[in-house]
Symmetry: C2
Subunit: 187 residues, 2 copies
C-alpha cells in the first residue's frame, strides 16, 4: 500500500500510560502545527491554538489536575491518578479553540470542524514522525483554575493531546461502524 495511505490508516490513539520518552521536539512540533494549518478551514479563520507543556511545567499541570480532581470529589487515589497523567506524559499540548459565534459567513459548527480538522492533522503528523498520542478532555477542561491557566480572552480549552513514543504497539480499537456504514450513494 502507498506509504501515505498506510500512515492515514494506521494511526490509533495511545493513552498516556503507554507513552514514554522521547516526546516530539521543537522541530517535530512545528511540523505538526504546520500540518494542522493545512486542514480545511472555511475562510481561513484559524480558530485554534496549541500550547506546549513539557519538562518542569508538568509539575504545574499535575497540581492543576489534582485540584480539579479534588474539586470533582475524587478520592486520594483518583487525585493521584489524575496528577500522574500530567507527569508521565513526555509532552502535553493544550488545544485551544477561538470560536466567533457571530461570524457573518462561517457558522460556529464549521469553525469547530476546522478545530477538529487541525487536531486530526496534528496527530497524523505526529504519527508520521514516529510519535503516538491521544486527545484527553473531560470535566477538567471546565475547571476555573485550569481555564485561567490556559485561556486567553475569547478562547476555550478543548482538551490536551498527550504525546510521546509508543511503549507498546498501536492497536486498533473495536469499531462501531465500518466504511460502508458511513459512505452511501444518494438515494
Amino acid at each position: 500500500m502507498d506509504p501515505v495511505l498506510h500512515s492515514l490508516l494506521s494511526r490509533h490513539s495511545l493513552g498516556g500510560k503507554h507513552l514514554s520518552e522521547p516526546g516530539p521536539d521543537d522541530a517535530a512540533l512545528a511540523l505538526m502545527a504546520d500540518a494542522a494549518l493545512h486542514a480545511p478551514d472555511h475562510a481561513g479563520l484559524v480558530p485554534f491554538r496549541f500550547i506546549v507543556v513539557r519538562g518542569e511545567q508538568r509539575q504545574r499541570l499535575a497540581a492543576l489536575f489534582a485540584d480539579a480532581a479534588r474539586d470533582a470529589g475524587k478520592d486520594a487515589s483518583g487525585i493521584a491518578l489524575d496528577a500522574e497523567r500530567a507527569l508521565q506524559v513526555p509532552v502535553t499540548v493544550a488545544v485551544m479553540a477561538r470560536i466567533d459565534p457571530g461570524h457573518p459567513q462561517v457558522p460556529a459548527h464549521e469553525q469547530w470542524c476546522a478545530v477538529g480538522g487541525a487536531l486530526a492533522m496534528f496527530l497524523q503528523a505526529a504519527h508520521a514522525l514516529g510519535y503516538a498520542g491521544k486527545m484527553l478532555s473531560g470535566h477538567k477542561v471546565r475547571h476555573p483554575a485550569i481555564q485561567a491557566a490556559f485561556c486567553a480572552p475569547g478562547e476555550m480549552l478543548v482538551g490536551w493531546v498527550s504525546l510521546g513514543t509508543a511503549a507498546r504497539p498501536l492497536k486498533a480499537s473495536p469499531r462501531r461502524l465500518r466504511q460502508a456504514d458511513v459512505l452511501q450513494p444518494w438515494a
Copy 2:
C-alpha cells in the same frame, strides 16, 4: 522530506471549476471513508456520514442548487452558476453530521471536532490517491428542499466536498497565520 509529511503539507483545496474527470471511484471513496474513520473521535460516536453524488444524479443536485439560488434572490446568471457547480464536478460528496446535544460524556463541540477530523482525513486520503477537491457550504445547506433530499432524521447537512482530478497545479492560498502563531509554550 518523508512522503507522508510531504503529503500532509501539500494538500490544498481546489474548487470545482478546476476539477476534471476522473473523480474517485468506489475503491478510492472506500479508502477515503476508512481514513475518515481513523480521525480522533471521543467515545467513537462516528457523528458523520458521507453521501456520494455522481453521474446522472448531478442533474438532480444541479436542480436543487438552482432552486436554492432562486429562493436566495440570485439573478439568472447566479442561478446558472450555482447549477453548474453541481454539474461540472466529477464526484460530489455530501457531509452529514449527527450530533447528540445531550450526550452524557461528549459535548456537542467535541462531536463537531470529530466531524471536522473525519472531513480532514477524507480530503487528505483523496490527496494521497491523486485527487483534489474542496469543501463547499454556504446558505444552501439550510434550504428546506436540499435538507429533505439529504438528511435522515437527526442529521444536519454540513456541506459538500467537490472531488476530481486537478486541472491545474495546487496552489497554497495565502495564510493569515504561520506555525509560530498557533504553537506556543505555556506561559
